[in-house]
C-alpha cells in the first residue's frame, strides 16, 4: 500500500511538474527565447543580433526587463529543459528560480542544475544599444532624459537609429527638441549619407554648445605627414608647412623625417660630446686637437672623422639635414578624407567661433562691470574725503580692511551667514564711521590746507592700523563666508555666466551710488556739505558749522569704506593687507574720474575695470602685467586730461 501511494505521489508530482513546465514554456517571451535558444546559448557579437532584434521588436512588455537582466548577467537557464529564468540566491548552494513572464517564484533548485548566461562585452554593448530604444520611449520623462544624458556622455553609432526612431513617438516638446538636436549631432559623426552629414553640420552654425564643438573638432583634426618631392594626389590637404617656420621648426621637421624612416638620425650635441670624449687619442679626437674643439664645426669634423674610421656610428651632418629638409614636403592633412565635409565643418566652426567670441566679449564685459563695481565701492568713500573735502586719506585702505574684519568678527558671533551679513553691513559702517570721525578730530583737522602733511600723517595711521590688525588677527587670511543663496552663478549659456556674489556687489554699488546722490542733492546735510566744499567761510557765516560738516563728511566716507570692506571680503580673503591692495587703484579711480564728482568716480571705476579686464584678456596668463600696463595707461591718460574725465570748471574747481 505504502509503495502504491508513493508511486502515485511520484507520478503526480511528475505530472504537475511537467504540466507546469509545459505551462512556462508556453508564455510568449519564453517561446521567443526558446526560438533563439541556440544563438543565446552561444552568444557572440557576430551572431547574436537577430536574437536581440527579435526581443527588441517583439513588443512584449517583459522584453526590456529580460534584456536588462541578460546584460547584467542575471539570466539563468535550467539545464534539464533549457528554459530561461531569473534567479536569486537562497544560500550558497540553493537558488530560487523566478519566472521571467510573471515574476512569480517557481521553485528552489540546486546550483548545479542551472547555468548562468554570461554575455561578453561585445554582446552586452549590443544589448545596451537595443535597451536605449526602450529607455528613449519610457513613459517616465525622467528616464528618457537620463537616457539622453547617457547618449550625450558616450555617443555610439548604434544610438543614431534608435534615437531617430524615437522622435516620432515623443510627446514632450522639450525632450523632443533635445532629441532632434542630439540626432543632428550624431548624424555629424555617424551618418552614412554625405548630404545628411553636411546638412547636420551646417545646421549648427553659430551654436554655442560645447558638445557641438566636440562633435565638429574631430572632423577637422589633422595629421602631420611628409612626402618626397610633391604632395601626393587625393589627399585632403589642410596646410602645407615650410620647415623652419614657426609652425614647424627645422628640428621638428627633421625628427618627422627620421620618424618616417626617410632620413638617418642626427646625433644630438650631448651624445656627440660624449662620443668625442671616449675617443680622445693623445690629445686629439679624429685628428683634431682638443684645444680646437670649442666650435660646432670642429666637433662635427672630428665626429665625421671618427665615423669614417668606423669607431662611432655615422650620423647626418648639418648639410645632410638641410638637404633632406629641402628634398621633402611637409603638410597637414585632415583625418577625414572627404574634402566637402571638412570644408563644411570648418565653415561651421568659424561661424561658431565668431559667435563664441561675441559671447566671450559679453562675458568679459560682465566681468569688467563687476570689477568696476568693486573699484567703485572702494573708491566712493575716497571720492567723498578726497573729492569733496580735498583731504588725502592714505588710511582709507585700512578702513576697508577694518570693515572686512568687522564682518569676520560678526560672523564669529552670529553663525547664520545671512543674518550675520545683514548685521555686519551696518556694524562695519558704524565702526569705520567712528574711526573716521576720530581720525578727523584727532589728526586731520589740524592739517587742513596742508595736503602733503595730511598724506603723510594718514600714512602713519595706516601702517599703525595695518600692524595692529596683524597683531590682533594674525597674518593668515581669515574667511568671510557668503550666505548660501549667493553661491553659484547665473548661467546664460555655455560661455556667459556671472556669479551671484558679483551681481550682489554690483547691486550694492548701485545702491550706494543712488544713496550718495540722494544725500548730496536732496538732504539738508548734503546741501551743507556742498556749501562747505565751495566756500567754508561763506557757509560759516550762513550758520553752518564747518567743523561739524567736515567731521560728518569724513565719517560718511570712512563708513562707506567699511561697507566696501565687507563686500570685498566676501570674495577675497581678509588679510591685514587687504586695504593696501586697493588703495592705489582707488586713488587712480578718483583721479582718473575727476575729483569732486560722483559721476566722475563712476566713470573712472568703469574705465579702470574695463581696461584691466581688457588687458588681462590680451595677456591672459598674467594679471601682474595687466596691472602694470593699466597703470602706465593711466599715467599717459593723465597727460591728456590732467583733471580727470569730468573736470570741475569755474569756481568749484578751487585752485
Amino acid at each position: 500500500m505504502k509503495r502504491i501511494i508513493s508511486a502515485v505521489l511520484v507520478a503526480w508530482t511528475l505530472c504537475v511538474s511537467l504540466a507546469s513546465a509545459q505551462d512556462l514554456a508556453g508564455s510568449p517571451i519564453q517561446t521567443l527565447l526558446q526560438e533563439h535558444r541556440a544563438l543565446i546559448e552561444k552568444a557572440s557579437r557576430k551572431t547574436i543580433q537577430p536574437a536581440i532584434d527579435a526581443l527588441g521588436e517583439s513588443g512584449l512588455p517583459q522584453a526590456q526587463v529580460v534584456l536588462e537582466k541578460w546584460q547584467d548577467k542575471e539570466l539563468w537557464q535550467r539545464e534539464s529543459d533549457g528554459l530561461f529564468f531569473f534567479a536569486e540566491k537562497v544560500d550558497s548552494t540553493t537558488w530560487r528560480l523566478i519566472d521571467i513572464d510573471t515574476g512569480a517564484p517557481v521553485g528552489e533548485v540546486d546550483k548545479g542544475e542551472i547555468d548562468q548566461l554570461k554575455p561578453n562585452s561585445g554582446v552586452r554593448s549590443l544589448i545596451g544599444a537595443t535597451l536605449v530604444q526602450f529607455q528613449l520611449l519610457d513613459p517616465d520623462p525622467a528616464k528618457r532624459i537620463e537616457a539622453l544624458d547617457a547618449i550625450q556622455r558616450d555617443p555610439e553609432e548604434s544610438h543614431l537609429a534608435a534615437l531617430a526612431g524615437s522622435i516620432e513617438k515623443e510627446p514632450d516638446p522639450e525632450i523632443r527638441t533635445r532629441k532632434e538636436r542630439l540626432v543632428r549631432l550624431l548624424t555629424i559623426s555617424w551618418s552614412e549619407s554625405e548630404e545628411d552629414r553636411i546638412a547636420a553640420i551646417e545646421s549648427f552654425k553659430g551654436d554655442l554648445g560645447v558638445d557641438t564643438r566636440a562633435a565638429l573638432n574631430p572632423l577637422v583634426a589633422t595629421i602631420r605627414e611628409v612626402a618626397e618631392g610633391e604632395i601626393p594626389q587625393g589627399v585632403n590637404l589642410a596646410a602645407r608647412l615650410r620647415p623652419g617656420s614657426e609652425a614647424l621648426p627645422a628640428a621638428e621637421a627633421y625628427a618627422l623625417l627620421v620618424g618616417n624612416g626617410l632620413a638617418p638620425e642626427r646625433i644630438d650635441a650631448d651624445a656627440r660630446l660624449a662620443a668625442l670624449q671616449q675617443n680622445i687619442v693623445e690629445g686629439r679626437v679624429g685628428g683634431v686637437p682638443l684645444a680646437q674643439l670649442d666650435t660646432e664645426e670642429a666637433r662635427d669634423r672630428a665626429y665625421a672623422a671618427l665615423a669614417e674610421a668606423g669607431v662611432v656610428p655615422p650620423t647626418a651632418l648639418q648639410a645632410d639635414v638641410d638637404a633632406a629638409l629641402a628634398a621633402h614636403v611637409f603638410y597637414d592633412r585632415y583625418a577625414e578624407p572627404n574634402a566637402v565635409i571638412t570644408e563644411a565643418a570648418n565653415e561651421t566652426l568659424s561661424s561658431i567661433n565668431t559667435q563664441v567670441g561675441l559671447n566671450q566679449a559679453l562675458d568679459l564685459g560682465l566681468d569688467a562691470l563687476s570689477l568696476a563695481s568693486i573699484y567703485f565701492l572702494a573708491a566712493i568713500g575716497l571720492a567723498v574725503t578726497f573729492g569733496v573735502m580735498g583731504v588725502i586719506n592714505m588710511a582709507h585702505g585700512e578702513f576697508i580692511m577694518m570693515g572686512a574684519y568687522t564682518g569676520y568678527v560678526v560672523q564669529q558671533l552670529i553663525p547664520d551667514y545671512t543674518i550675520s551679513i545683514l548685521v555686519a553691513l551696518p556694524m562695519a559702517f558704524a565702526v569705520t564711521f567712528a574711526a573716521g570721525v576720530a581720525l578727523e578730530r584727532l589728526v586731520i583737522r589740524w592739517l587742513y590746507n596742508r595736503p602733503l602733511e595730511t598724506l603723510l600723517a594718514t600714512f602713519g595711521i595706516s601702517i599703525a592700523l595695518q600692524q595692529l590688525a596683524k597683531n590682533i588677527f594674525g597674518t593668515q587670511a581669515r574667511p568671510l563666508t557668503s550666505p548660501g543663496w549667493l553661491d553659484g552663478a547665473l548661467v546664460l549659456n555655455d560661455v556667459v555666466s556671472i556669479s551671484y556674489i558679483r551681481i550682489a556687489i554690483f547691486v550694492l554699488a548701485l545702491i550706494f551710488l543712488f544713496l550718495f546722490l540722494f544725500i548730496m542733492n536732496r538732504t539738508r546735510i548734503g546741501l551743507e556739505v556742498r556749501a562747505v566744499t565751495q566756500n567754508p567761510r561763506m557757509a560759516a557765516s550762513m550758520g553752518i558749522n564747518p567743523d561739524r560738516i567736515n567731521m560728518l563728511t569724513f565719517g560718511l566716507g570712512s563708513g562707506i569704506a567699511g561697507i566696501a570692506g565687507v563686500a570685498i571680503g566676501l570674495y577675497a580673503k581678509v588679510t591685514s593687507e587687504l586695504g593696501a591692495d586697493y588703495i592705489v587703484q582707488s586713488f587712480m579711480t578718483v583721479v582718473v574720474g575727476g575729483v569732486g564728482n560722483i559721476w566722475g568716480t563712476l566713470l573712472g571705476a568703469t574705465m579702470i575695470g574695463f581696461l584691466q579686464k581688457g588687458i588681462e584678456w590680451l595677456n591672459p596668463s598674467n594679471t601682474l602685467a595687466a596691472q602694470t600696463y593699466m597703470i602706465i595707461f593711466i599715467i599717459i591718460f593723465i597727460q591728456f586730461r590732467p583733471r580727470g574725465i569730468i573736470a570741475l570748471k569755474g569756481r568749484a574747481a578751487g585752485d
Binding site: 660646432e296 600714512f459 602713519g460 600692524q467 595692529l468 599715467i635
Partner: protein
Amino acid sequence: MTRSFFARNPSVLIFIAVLAVFTLAVTLASEATGTGALSTSFVKTLGKTLCLCLVAIAMDLIWGYAGILSLGHMAFFGLGGYMIGMWLMYARTEAIVATSMANAQIPPTDQEIVDAIGTQIFGVVGSSDFPPIWIFADSLALQLMLVVLVPGLLALVFGWLAFRSRVTGVYLSILTQAMTLALSLYLFQNDSGLRGNNGLSGLQNLPGANNIPQADISLWFFWASAFALGVGYLLAAWIVSGKFGSVIRGIRDDEARVRFLGYSVEGYKLFVFTITAIIAAIAGALYYPQAGIINPAEIAPIASIYLAVWVAIGGRGRLYGAVIGAAFVSLLSTMFTGGQVPSVPLGFYTIDWVDWWQVLLGLSFVLVTLFAPKGIGGLVDLVTGRRPPDRHGADLGPDKGSLQEREAEQ
C-alpha cells in the same frame, strides 16, 4: 658776495668733518683693519645706513627743497641695485661655470658657456635663455653706466610727462606711487627677465674676490658709501646754496609766482627730479652689494613712503636733517625689528617690539607731523638760537597750502 661756498654753508664743513671722523672710527674698530670691536655684519649695516642717508638727501632735495613729494625714489634706488646686481650675478656665475667647465677634457663652445650661465641664473624661474635686457651684463663699465642711465632716463621721461601736464601736489604723489607700483608689479613677474620675486641674490660675493675675506670687502663698501655720501652732500649743498637753490625753494613756496617771474618751472623741477633719481640709483648700487639680495618687494611703494617718513622725522628742508632722520630711524628700525630691544611686560600683555614697532613708528610719525614739523633737525635751531622771521603768523604765499613761516626758515 665773495664769501666762499663753505663760509656761507658752515654746516657742510661740519658734516664732512663728522663723516670723516665717523669713517675713521669705524675703520679703527672694524675686524679688517682695527680692533675688531665692530663685527663685519655691523659694519655692513653701517655701510647700508650711509647709502640710505644718501638717498634721504635726494629725497630732501626733491621734497624738502623743491616741494615735490615723490613716492618713487626708492624705485630708482632699487633700479640702481638691479643694474649693478645684474653684473655681479652674471660675472660671478660666469666664474663658477668657467671653473666647473675647465675640468672637461674638451673645451666648451661659447654657446655652451652662455647656456650654462643662463641655466644657473634663470633655472629658478624655469627658463635658461638670457632675456634681451641682460645684453650688457657681461661688462662692468656698461652696467655701471646703466646704473645712472636707466633710472635717469625713467625719471626724465616720467618727470617730463608729469610736469608738462602740470600735475602737482598730491596728484603728483599719487602718480609717482602708481609708477612705483607698476614697476614693482612688473618685476614680480617671472618673465620680466629679472628672476621675478626671487630677485637677484648672492650679490655680496664680488666676482674674482673669492680669496678676500668679507671683513675687508665690507669695509671697502663702507668707505665707498661714506665717500659717496660726502660727495652727494656736497653736490646737494651746492645745488641748493646758489641762485638755483633759491629758485627751487621759490617753486616750493609759490609755483605760479615763480612761473610769472619768467622761470621755466618745469625745467627746474625736471632737473631736480632727474638728478635726485640718479643720486638715489647710485645709493642703491652701493647698498645692494652690501645687502646681498634684491627683490621686487624692495621697490614696492611702501619703501618710498618710509623714505618720506625718515626725511620728515629728520627734518625737511635741511640736508643734515635728512641724514639724521635716515640714520636714526633705519638703525632704530633694525634694532626693534631685530629683537634687540627687550619686551615690555605689562602684566596682562607683553609688548613684543617685533610686533609693535610699526605701530610705534606710525604713531610717532603722526605726532612728528602734527607737533614737530621741523623734525629732529629742529633741535639744531635751539642750539644755534636761530629764529624764524617774524611775519606775525601770516602765510608765506598767497595760495592756501603754502608753507607757514615756521616751516620755511631754510
